[in-house]
């Protein structure tokens, strides 16, 4: 089928000739919030892809002399006009608490410039480079821009948050892919064959849904051997959290299969002698693809929250891996939090991403049925 040009053809024809994908897109565009959310999510994945370029300081570099530096502001103008800079820091030891308290030193200005040299990294895992989007010039050891402050070990929270985007977003994608495979497979079998297979799978889903998940996953996650590498733990956690998500997807797929099985075009294909595989993949799958995509975009935030919660409890990913949950782990303690409230800022991207995915999923669900 050729895609209709929405401008050239007149009103009614436009709708009649458009492919389903195009119709879905038109419908989706009407949902303003969903479109904005799509942009936000795309931005987040861009940040994840170019995380090291956007990070300012080495996210793993520790420095005891710069622990708990409060967030610094960039000043854009000085007496000479436009000259972005930050103030140097002066650490004074508090005589009562014996803690270093940092105050900006207006006499020491560090110019902030674009495309400065910093720590080495591989861009997209391919190109080795050391250019970062912004940085300071003429910094001494221990100096730098700490837009969101530093943690106890003196690591730059802003850079860590940027780098954590990668892990947090992709663990969601990997988990959702896994549960999609499980969900489509089991939901498809359930909806297609019906009978006792359907009954068994439906009961399994009901059983899984009536178990409080977090204690179970906590138990499974805690049982991962300590000797495992960060990568192994990453995959194990992905598998564990994807065991939550598949039931919802399976329900969606089964529901669509049941509805489509009776449709005229499926019966027609059957009568024309099409093989079962062809009927499923050529005729049925395209017509419920959009439903699956909508379900996926609603399952993704749940995955991200699961990972964040597990890592927050210290049972998920392990350092040196950086995820939003691991960053929030530092903020667990009210004593630490009262002294360094900026540690909570990792909550902001979590909330933003979940919100965006929810709006997107909502918009997609409405758009999934463009004829409705």
């Amino acid at each position: 089928m050729t895609a209709a040009d929405p401008v050239a053809s007149a009103g009614q024809d436009r709708w009649a000739e458009a492919t389903q994908l195009r119709l879905t897109w038109w419908r989706f565009r009407r949902h303003r919030l969903a479109v904005i959310s799509l942009v936000v999510i795309a931005l987040f994945y861009l940040i994840a892809a170019f995380a090291d370029f956007l990070a300012i300081n080495d996210p793993h570099a520790t420095d005891a002399r710069r622990s708990f530096i409060p967030p610094q502001a960039i000043h854009f103008f000085d007496e000479n006009g436009f000259n972005p800079h930050i103030y140097g820091l002066r650490g004074v030891r508090d005589r009562q608490t014996f803690q270093l308290v940092y105050t900006p030193d207006p006499n020491r200005k560090l110019p902030v410039r674009l495309f400065t040299r910093g720590y080495n990294y591989n861009l997209l895992g391919l190109i080795e480079m050391d250019i970062h989007l912004i940085g300071v010039i003429g910094a001494q050891r221990g100096e730098g821009i700490f837009l969101l402050g530093t943690d106890q070990l003196g690591r730059d929270l802003f850079s860590r948050m940027i780098v954590a985007t990668r892990v947090s977003l992709f663990i969601g994608l990997a988990g959702v892919t896994l549960s999609l495979v499980l969900g489509v497979l089991l939901g498809g079998i359930s909806g297609l064959y019906g009978g006792w297979v359907d009954t068994v799978i439906q009961r399994v889903i009901e059983v899984l849904r009536s178990i409080p998940t977090i204690p179970l996953w906590m138990g499974l996650a805690a049982a991962l051997p300590n000797s495992w590498s960060t990568l192994q733990v990453y995959f194990a956690i992905t598998i564990i959290i994807s065991l939550i998500g598949w039931t919802d997807l399976a329900r969606v797929v089964r529901g669509r299969f049941l509805a489509l099985r009776e449709e005229d075009f499926v019966v027609a294909a059957e009568l024309a002698g099409a093989s079962q595989g062809r009927i499923i993949f050529r005729h049925m799958l395209p017509s419920f693809m959009s439903h699956v995509i909508a379900a996926v975009s609603l399952a993704l935030p749940a995955m991200i929250v699961s990972e964040t919660a597990l890592s927050f409890l210290g049972l998920g990913l392990r350092p040196p891996a950086v995820s939003w949950g691991i960053l929030l782990q530092d903020a667990q303690n009210i004593q630490v939090l009262s002294g360094a409230p900026w540690l909570l800022s990792a909550a902001v991207p979590v909330i933003l991403v979940i919100l965006a995915f929810n709006f997107l999923g909502d918009g997609l669900r409405d758009a999934a049925d463009p004829y409705g």
């Binding site: 059983v207 977090i214 499974l220 805690a222 929250v305 049972l315 667990q332 009210i334 929810n358």
Partner: protein, 360 residues
């Protein structure tokens, strides 16, 4: 399945319109089969949970005796090879896994969950009333969810696209987007920063160690709203949306127009039939909301320092105190299943459609 067959038989009964006695008979039969079905599913779920729990207990490398010996060695004393073997025999660790599972289940049925390694006391003693407090917090959250979601859901549907509707929808989305443990963290910080008080805990300092009394119960009730609200937020947001959508569907039905045309007051025309009809999915949401709340209470308890099983579970898992951890996972799972079962039965009394069709 069986139930559906019965339902068919009921429909095709030739003398259906005949005697009322027959009708009630079939009715009672349906209800019974529905009850049995739910009960059977609950049992299967419990079995499934117990198997998973057993797997979790056995997952860490080495067995219980290894861990016990390591624990003893760490504290200075030592255990001989023979003693270790004797212990293995005593706990049946030399038997096949299936036998071990059955034995473990047997002990569990007698209320013996084993000994906590970290606390050196029976697991049941360590858990104490933490399990009940977990349930109290989760139930409070459940009731709060209903109490908030019902009126707001009705309002949002009746006044669709009003400013109030938009405000509640937005709030609902935000509520959905903030994971409850983050909300707890933020509230903790705000409470500490601006009110200068520690908002955590379930009891005032005076009552933490006190034996149960009416004063202590009252103290608990006074401390419940905050954790319950934190837990209830996401569920409330979801339920408002479901209630709104359902009621909107019902409000467009002709019978509502008829009710209005007959001169029923607006209040009655809405509350008497459409709201009741829209309540069904609302009430059946308990089945998934309750496990969700119990789950959430674990993480939230850690942040707010609630004396529930949450912090205990985390400690046990980190220390690989697997009997304690296993007991908590099992008890939480089973209590959730019982809670869901009770809600199913209640639902059957509330909604005649379930009573008659025999399914949720």
């Amino acid at each position: 399945m069986q139930c559906l067959l019965l339902q068919d038989a009921f429909r095709h009964a030739p003398d259906r319109a005949g005697g009322a006695g027959r009708d009630t008979n079939a009715h009672a039969y349906l209800m019974l089969s529905y009850l049995l079905q739910r009960l059977g599913l609950a049992l299967v779920t419990c079995l499934f949970i117990s198997a998973l729990t057993f797997i979790i207990i056995r997952l860490p490398p080495g067995d219980f005796v290894d861990a016990y010996i390591a624990n003893l060695t760490a504290s200075g004393s030592s255990v001989s090879q023979e003693q270790a073997e004797a212990m293995r025999r005593e706990y049946g660790l030399d038997q096949p896994v299936l036998v071990q599972y059955v034995r473990w289940m047997g002990r569990v049925f007698q209320g013996d969950f084993g000994v906590s390694m970290v606390w050196r006391r029976p697991v049941t003693e360590v858990i104490g009333d933490r399990l009940w407090l977990t349930m109290v917090v989760s139930l409070a959250a459940l009731f709060l969810t209903w109490a908030i979601a019902l009126p707001i859901g009705i309002y949002s549907a009746v006044r669709q696209y009003s400013i109030g509707d938009y405000i509640f929808t937005t709030l609902g989305f935000i509520g959905l987007a903030i994971p409850n443990f983050l909300l707890a963290l933020i509230l903790m910080y705000l409470g500490f920063r601006y009110l200068g008080l520690n908002v955590g805990g379930l009891f005032s300092p005076d009552y933490v160690q006190a034996p149960w009394s009416w004063a202590r119960v009252w103290d608990l009730i006074k401390h419940l709203p905050l954790p319950a609200a934190v837990l209830a937020l996401a569920g409330t947001a979801q339920l408002i949306r479901i209630m709104r959508a359902n009621l909107l569907d019902e409000l467009r039905r002709p019978y509502v127009v008829t009710a209005r045309a007959k001169g029923l007051s607006e209040m009655r025309a809405i509350l008497k039939y459409p709201v009741r009809a829209a309540l069904n999915p609302f009430a059946s949401s308990v089945a998934y909301l309750f496990p969700y709340l119990v789950s959430g209470s674990i993480v939230v308890s850690l942040v707010l320092g609630l004396p529930t099983v949450g912090p205990l579970l985390l400690q046990a898992l980190v220390a690989q105190d697997m009997f304690l951890a296993g007991a908590i996972v099992l008890l939480l799972g089973v209590m959730t299943v019982i809670g869901t079962l009770i809600s199913d039965i209640l639902l059957m009394w509330i909604d005649p459609r379930i009573r008659l069709e025999g399914r949720a």
